[in-house]
Symmetry: C2
């Protein structure tokens, strides 16, 4: 912020050097526009009509007074769009070179378009599908899938695990893993279990006063973090995206959904129920997931800004959604 | 629907042949589970404990009575996850082969997991990033970008157009194109314009009774459809995704957003304003886009199920978001 105050409205000062640079650029844009429209053979579509000095002044003001640069981008886009229609190849090549040079120059203007990034370094560093950030060799490939009911998110997750030859975890699998850990613990806890006769009191003592649901969630989160040190895997649900972000563990989070009508159709076929019943199932299960996610993460379930990526499975289908994710993480369809 | 009633709850009939097939499969899953746990050297983690006949019966019922197949998938996943930990390579290879065979058999069960697709053929056929559907040679590459304010969606769109060497259109560019068409029309309309003196009456006559906003929208939509017959391009905003779906024109629709806080930070830097002011800008402009989109499309702006893909630009940044989209559409960073 404020590295260069060239067109920052909060600063009144613009150096003479900057002014000269911007005026030169305005002149070049104007000249390119003239050349392009000469080559296209039309003046009607010309971006900057009228008096040359006035047009350059206008461009100059545009660059200096519009901090977002979007007007400048649009003006440059217009010239570029027109230049691409030039039939004479050598003229086109020459003018496109100048166009690209101007683009480069534009990027030197601190608050021009594209110069202030939206990147959140913390998120970007944890995003395994952001290849601008090299992952550590100890990091495993972890893909977190959240999904709406009926969107085939779990089917896509399972097929993806299969394509990548990595483990697959969902609520059922976790329940099983937890049950086994519990069975093992039961041996250790035998004495205590005998001493505390009341079932709820036993659970209270065992889970340090947490509710069964909270205890299960925290147990799952702990298992998730431990697993992420040892293996590549796909995890469906369990707020895994939020758990991994909170624990600074790299992963990619994907939300899978599809239009309600399409999901309802699928449930009708899978469950052999009416449209009305299918809609009810979707509403109840989505609501349940929403409550669970919002409660444990403090974020809004299904909001695209929580995940790295959202996929509309109706636009892809199961197989192509898997292939899409493979392209996103730079793997081929054999998982290499 | 109902091609095979093997495990459709709405049908009471299950053929003897199907029953035998499912019983064989249950037996194979049970056997694989035993083999895997023998190889791993643990029986504690075993998926199917206890009496063999009872376990197979349980699996058999699971396959036949659970139409969604998710319990079956989870059971199979557990066995597979464990099999991948086998250290002896030849034993592992042998058991993974059997695992894959079982997966294949499972897919023959009509309503097992992954067998009822979520694909909407209409959407899939119009989705240029779904490579399961071959596009016609006359189809152009059209990328529709919708975005929240401050998410750098326009910057990503412009940089993407630049990488692909294709045209870029946004509201400003459209306004300019429309203005030029209007200028051209003015010549034709000179006589009429003179006859109708009142400005609003003139507009009413000219736009066939539509409001200026509606007229502009329908003009833009028409230009969009005409352009799509002639060129590859990126279009930002203008409900282009919905317009192209309604007109059966293949494209890929991408919604770009980022967490509110990150967008606010970016606006603060771009506009040199306070956090409070930046938040206000975001709220006003997002609300404006939301109203426009909902009004003209009848859909909910920003809902992931309207677009092929949503991208969290904070997880990628401008450059990596461009690269991500290039991977999605199978182009390299030089646009080839």
């Amino acid at each position: 912020m404020g590295k260069d105050k060239i067109n920052n409205p909060s600063s009144g000062e613009i150096s003479e050097e900057s002014k000269t640079m911007v005026r030169n650029l305005a002149q070049r844009i104007y000249d390119l526009d003239s050349e392009v429209y000469k080559a296209v053979g039309s003046s009607l579509g010309r971006t900057f009509n009228g008096d040359k000095k006035a047009a350059i002044d206008q461009l100059y003001r545009l660059i200096l007074t519009n901090p977002q640069g979007y007007r400048l981008r649009s003006e440059i886009a217009l010239v570029g769009n027109m230049a691409r229609t030039i039939r004479d190849k050598s003229v086109k090549a020459q003018l496109m070179t100048e166009y690209n040079e101007i683009l480069k120059e534009t990027k030197k203007i601190p608050l021009s378009f594209g110069n202030v990034d939206i990147i959140d370094e913390t998120l970007a560093n944890l995003n395994s599908s952001n290849f601008g950030h090299t992952m550590s060799k100890e990091d495993h490939l972890i893909i977190c899938i959240s999904r709406t009911e009926g969107s085939a998110g779990t089917d896509i997750g399972f097929a993806l695990a299969d394509a990548l030859h990595i483990n697959y975890y969902d609520a059922e699998v976790f329940r099983d893993v937890l049950r086994k850990i519990d069975d093992e613990k039961d041996v250790e806890w035998k004495g205590v279990n005998k001493a505390i006769k009341h079932k709820r009191a036993r659970a209270f003592s065992r889970y340090h006063g947490l509710s069964m649901r909270d205890a299960a969630f925290f147990n799952e989160s702990e298992i998730l973090c431990n697993m992420s040190k040892e293996q590549d895997f796909i995890v469906v649900g369990r707020c895994a995206d939020a758990v991994l972000i909170n624990n600074h563990i790299p992963h990619i989070s994907v939300f899978i959904t599809a239009p309600f009508e399409q999901r309802a159709k699928r449930i009708m076929e899978l469950e052999g129920v009416s449209y009305k019943k299918a809609s009810r199932i979707l509403q109840i299960l989505d609501k349940k997931r929403e409550r669970f996610y919002n409660f444990y993460t403090g974020k809004v379930w299904g909001n695209a800004s929580n995940y790295d990526l959202c996929i509309n499975s109706a636009s892809y289908g199961i197989k192509e959604a898997v292939d899409l994710i493979l392209r996103v993480i730079n793997r081929d369809s054999k998982g290499n």
